[in-house]
């Protein structure tokens, strides 16, 4: 049960947020949607004396896209809004899909993409897409701002490279190259509402001759952190996109994951599914790259 002595701060400016986090260092957590934090606190898995809400802070709620700059998602933007943003659907279909199917309607309305990343579940649905889209996180603390590539963001199950006194101000995602196609697919036993048992995201950029110029593949829920599969990516780079190539890349992706057995699926099943999903994701990427998105 939640401790009744919990204090909830509701600052209206980012500076105040950072001050509070600093002041209560180690005993404070950022509160956005609360959809991860509150269940944990209720179950006694997270004990913290202070919540610092960012829900009244101006400037964290914008979502913008510019061809030359890419996408900027403010730290307070809700998952539903990201999924429904027309430019996200157009340029980042893998992210749009993740944001439209993960969890439930209510949780998508309440939760933020930043929060989904910061919670750092290995199964976070927005992570694999953001990994393949080369996202970076703008993180602020009292006295400074830094940008972290998402590749370096996840450090362990439930662990990210954010200090307890820092806040994700924005997620920046560069514009994918025009001849590229991307996709995200996920699986679990009930197949719809669950925490994904397996997730795979892919991005293929083609050169003018139709060869794969650049490939990015990422997996969720099959390793301690959402991760890229560099072996498969290297296998794909510079090659003609063929079914045979995709099959080999899928096998490499499968070999590169290390899932666990848990209540949602067995390690063996997850490993097998990485192969299946990787092939399907690559197939969808090629279709989208060729046909335009």
């Amino acid at each position: 049960m939640t401790d009744l002595s919990l204090k909830v701060h509701q600052p209206t400016a980012l500076d105040e947020v950072l001050d509070l986090l600093s002041q209560h260092r180690g005993d404070a957590k950022v509160l956005a949607g609360g959809t991860d934090i509150l269940p944990k606190m209720r179950a006694g898995a997270l004990k913290v004396g202070h919540l610092v809400s960012i829900n009244r802070v101006a400037g964290l709620n914008r979502i913008e896209f510019r061809e030359d700059e890419g996408l900027v998602i403010g730290g307070g933007v809700r998952i539903t809004d990201v999924g429904e943003f027309p430019d996200v659907q157009k340029h980042y279909p893998g992210l749009a899909y993740a944001c439209s199917v993960m969890a439930t309607t209510q949780i998508r309305n309440m939760g933020t993409v930043a929060g989904n990343l910061a919670n750092a579940a290995p199964s976070a649905d927005t992570a694999p897409p953001l990994l393949i889209y080369k996202a970076s996180l703008v993180i602020v603390k009292k006295g400074g701002r830094r940008e972290v590539d998402i590749d370096n963001f996840f450090t362990g199950p439930g662990e990210v490279s954010i200090d307890p006194t820092e806040v994700i101000e924005a997620i920046r995602v560069p514009t994918p190259s025009p001849c590229s196609g991307s996709s995200y697919m996920r699986l679990s036993a009930r197949s719809k509402v669950d925490i994904a048992a397996v997730g795979v995201a892919g991005l293929l950029s083609l050169d003018t001759s139709g060869r794969i110029e650049c490939a990015r593949l990422a997996q969720g829920a099959v390793a301690p952190i959402p991760q890229r599969c560099s072996e498969a990516e290297e296998m794909l780079a510079g090659q003609e996109p063929t079914e045979d190539l995709f099959g080999r890349a899928a096998a490499a992706g499968s070999a590169g994951c290390c899932p666990i057995d848990d209540v949602r699926a067995s390690a063996a099943y997850r490993t097998a599914m990485v192969k299946v999903l990787t092939r399907r994701v690559l197939g969808e990427c090629i279709e989208r790259a060729k046909g335009g998105i």
């Binding site: 909830v8 509701q10 209720r42 809400s53 439930t104 309607t105 209510q106 309440m110 719809k192």
Partner: protein, 166 residues
């Protein structure tokens, strides 16, 4: 156990309540404001029985802190109908189409339906089902709920006359 005095606007009414910051909106609605139409089915954000609208959006009120719901427009099931005789078209459709059995999921279902139809006045069956992904029901198999929402969409589109009780 320091309580805070907060102001909640629920169904257009302003309430002042003293609550501990850790208390959920669902609890405060039910225990402090006497609005027990919002139900608690799991208290973990999974079942949707506690769904209310905040600024028109469906949220799980069991996962929303009451203090965070200040300065927002909260709509609960009690705020939909003008009276027992004059129901909202969604409520009317639920009654007419047999979408209510034990009734425990009903408030949440209707609030999710309202969110959907406010955003998307003529949803497909798939869109309706997707919108209800966070509302569990053990009695109805969802069929008549989906039919009711579809019918309500039609009634709302047809205009206020069609939506009123015959």
């Amino acid at each position: 156990m320091a309580k805070q005095i907060i102001e909640l606007t629920v169904n257009g009414d302003r309430y002042e309540v003293a609550v501990e910051p850790s208390r959920s909106l669902a609890e405060v609605l039910r225990e402090d404001l006497g609005l027990t139409g919002t139900k608690i089915g799991c208290n973990q954000g999974d079942c949707g029985a506690c769904t209310v609208l905040i600024d028109g959006r469906s949220v799980a009120s069991c996962m929303t802190l009451a203090v965070e719901a200040q300065h927002r427009e909260i709509t609960t099931i009690e705020g939909l109908a003008a009276s027992l005789q004059n129901l909202h078209p969604i409520q009317e459709a639920f009654v007419e189409h047999g979408a209510v059995q034990c009734g425990f999921c009903t408030s949440g279902m209707i609030m999710s339906a309202k969110n959907l139809l406010d955003k998307n006045p003529s949803p497909s069956e798939q869109e309706i089902r997707h919108a209800l992904s966070g509302n569990l029901c053990r009695c109805t198999g969802y069929t008549k709920i989906v039919e009711a929402i579809d019918a309500a969409a039609g009634n709302l589109a047809a205009g206020p006359d069609k939506g009123e009780q015959p």
